[in-house]
């Protein structure tokens, strides 16, 4: 059974065009780009081509792109660089709804003695810019705020935030891992200092990412060793994956406009149908400012893991913010920060689409999900007409 893969905020399929570009560099062209001989040295040019393609997607200059091993490395590198660049400043600002790559790294720094402000969000997952303004001071080394949320798809006002911080000359990093390739990101217009992206969220393979560092920004490397990436990120280049990331960015740039409208149409169809067919559901997050591919829906009175496993029987892949699926007993920190009631968090399901999803697939999901929810609600002691608490 071919899965109906609606978990594209977790990871995406490698595009066939991307794989084709990569294969020669995993087979015969296995050289090291740092070598003096042509066999290795010729790969250097391929890496620079990939860099130019990544830069083009972002409206950046190629030399502003550093290749890394993943989104988490990009995030950690950016924050550490901010700290190393302004050693006398001991204050960091981020949000309560960041991905663990930023959130747990910030908590780690808090334990090391840094003062960290975690900005709150409202019930729709929107950031309060007033709270950001209030928390800024002369001690702030870096502000790291995500572009779009992985769980709800809510997009933060990065243009406004970056202007606020540029005026005050405070370093600004954004984790744009969920945004790049899904919505237009133009760094010519956005005064962001650093930006993280990850390959496997936009149809490149896992194990490659990039960090954008604006020209003129102070930068300290996180991984120290050889001269690769002009001394900004040591370690032999992941040649094939970097070439793959370049190709994936090229594809994203060519198709972005088309995909935004295609995906939002499909997503809206799915969402509207589920809202119609299932009683007692709610959409989590600001539907006005959201990634086109994401919807986060809470089904009251049923538990997320049970929904996912029933969906799994039909080959439908999605994820949940419920405690049972988080790997701990704590449900989603994002939905909790938004004040979503626990009852709704336990039954929250995230569907995230990609260019490879079809309308036929969505139609199938629309018929299956309400059936599963109905069955599980019959099993549940809770519900509108049931006596239990």
């Amino acid at each position: 059974m071919k899965p109906i893969y609606l978990d594209n905020n977790a990871t995406t399929a490698v595009a066939p065009e991307v794989l084709d570009e990569m294969l020669p560099y995993l087979r015969e062209l296995y050289g090291n780009p740092s070598s003096m001989h042509t066999f290795g040295g010729q790969l250097h040019r391929k890496i620079e081509e990939a860099r130019a393609k990544v830069a083009a997607l972002l409206g950046a200059e190629p030399e502003e792109i550093i290749f890394t091993s993943c989104g988490t490395e990009s995030d950690n590198t950016a924050i550490m660089s901010g700290i190393e660049s302004y050693l006398q400043k001991k204050h960091i600002i981020t949000t309560r709804v960041e991905h663990p790559a930023v959130l747990n790294f910030s908590k780690h720094l808090a334990r090391k003695g840094y003062r960290v402000t975690f900005l709150p969000v409202d019930s729709k997952g929107r950031l309060d810019l007033g709270a950001l303004l209030k928390s800024l001071d002369e001690n702030t080394a870096i502000v790291s705020i995500m572009y779009a949320n992985n769980e709800t798809g809510v997009i933060f006002p990065i243009p406004e935030i970056s202007e606020i911080l540029r005026e005050r000359k405070i370093l600004f990093h954004t984790d744009a891992i969920q945004a790049v390739g899904k919505i237009p990101v133009d760094l010519k217009k956005l005064p962001v200092d650093m930006l993280s992206l990850s390959g496997h969220k936009l149809h490149a393979p896992k194990g490659v990412g990039a960090l954008y560092v604006r020209k003129g920004t102070r930068f300290y490397p996180y991984i120290i060793g050889g001269h690769q990436e002009r001394g900004r990120r040591a370690g032999t280049e992941n040649v094939a994956s970097i070439i793959g990331l370049g190709k994936a960015c090229e594809l994203a740039r060519e198709n972005l406009e088309k995909e935004v409208s295609y995906l939002s149409k499909l997503r809206d169809k799915l969402e509207t149908a589920l809202l119609q067919c299932c009683p007692d559901v709610r959409i989590n997050g600001d539907t006005e400012n959201r990634l086109p591919n994401t919807t986060n829906i809470s089904f009251e009175y049923v538990e997320g893991e049970a929904i996912l496993l029933r969906l799994n029987e039909y080959g439908i892949c999605a994820s949940s913010g419920s405690a049972c699926t988080s790997g701990s007993l704590e449900p989603s920190h994002v939905l909790r920060s938004m004040g979503v009631p626990f009852t709704a968090i336990h039954g929250s399901i995230r569907f995230s689409l990609s260019r490879y999803n079809t309308e036929t697939e969505i139609d199938e999901v629309i018929t299956i999900v309400p059936k599963i929810i109905k069955e599980l609600r019959e099993l549940s002691p809770f519900g509108k007409d049931k006596i239990s608490k």
Binding site: E303, L308, G327
Partner: protein, 289 residues
């Protein structure tokens, strides 16, 4: 060196046995018995799983004629509930009460260790239902000593489950009862209970703080612990705390920001006390000024 102190258990949702999958997908005895002779309700929607068990009992023989369940929870919670009803049908109440959570897990061909609490929930529901049938009183609220406030787990339950299942570590207790799986502030209490039950050291001794601190040293250390260990964690959840004064072993604090209105305020204060006892001095008492 980065040392991350929070351990993330490995996900195991796909490690279910075929029996669990089968009873999850095709559960038996779902629903509610009309005019039941006994009802057992455990868990809550907030905690993430809950079970309502209804029984039909033959008054002459004390045999369970029928059992039905309604469960809110994950696949293993649903399968455990179904297994329980299969197991107890036809048994007398006394026979049924002898069923341990291990037997429920064995009926299912085993459960992932993180999901053992589902089998415990089944057993508890049965006990509650039988007590309900026999007209036994539930422990009055406040009479039970609640150890884990996040998941409302009592000391009695921790002791019972630990002894019945030979549990010796906090992690196992969390897997079987959920206690300690939320904010984590009750972990020292669970360690103490385990130590008491098994008379063994459940955890290696922590490095001891020098016994004799001068008053100045002590205040400085308290300040340091609050700044570096406590405030960052509270701030991560939108809360904050301020040190007001230190009088002997009494530390007076004020909760700030979101902690002020937080219903978990007492838990937070207790957590701060635990941390200060651990890192400064064992006799510290924290009070809100």
């Amino acid at each position: 060196m980065i040392s991350i102190t929070i351990l993330y258990p490995i996900k195991s949702m796909w490690e279910y046995t075929d029996k669990v999958k089968d009873l999850f997908l095709n559960p038996k005895n779902v629903g509610e018995i009309e005019n039941p002779d006994a009802v057992g309700e455990v868990g809550s929607i907030i905690c993430g799983d809950a079970l309502r068990l209804t029984l039909k009992i033959d008054k002459q023989t004390n045999k369970i004629i029928d059992a039905k369940f309604q469960t809110f929870g994950c696949a293993s919670a649903i399968a455990s509930s179904s297994a329980l009803t299969e197991l107890i049908k036809g048994m007398t109440l006394d026979e049924a009460l002898k069923i341990s959570n291990q037997e429920i897990a064995e009926f299912l061909g085993g459960l992932p260790s993180e999901k053992m609490h589902c089998s415990v929930m089944g057993q508890e529901a049965l006990e509650t239902a039988v007590a309900n049938y026999r007209g036994e009183k539930k422990p009055i609220e406040g009479e039970e000593k609640i150890i884990c406030k996040c998941f409302e787990v009592s000391e009695d339950k921790i002791r019972k489950v630990a002894i019945e299942n030979h549990l010796t570590t906090v992690e196992e207790i969390t897997n079987y009862t959920k206690a300690g799986g939320g904010c984590g502030s009750c972990i020292p209490d669970i360690e103490a209970i385990l130590k008491d039950i098994w008379s063994i050291k459940a955890v290696p001794e922590r490095p001891l703080v020098p016994k004799k601190l001068t008053n100045l040293q002590k205040i400085a250390l308290i300040q340091d612990v609050i700044e570096k260990e406590i405030r960052p964690l509270l701030q991560a959840d939108g809360g904050d705390v301020e040190l007001i004064d230190v009088e002997g072993n009494k530390v007076i604090i004020a909760l700030r920001a979101m902690c002020v209105e937080c219903p978990m305020g007492n838990v937070t204060v207790k957590g701060i006390e635990e941390k200060l006892r651990e890192l400064v001095s064992e006799d510290i008492i924290v009070e809100v000024g």
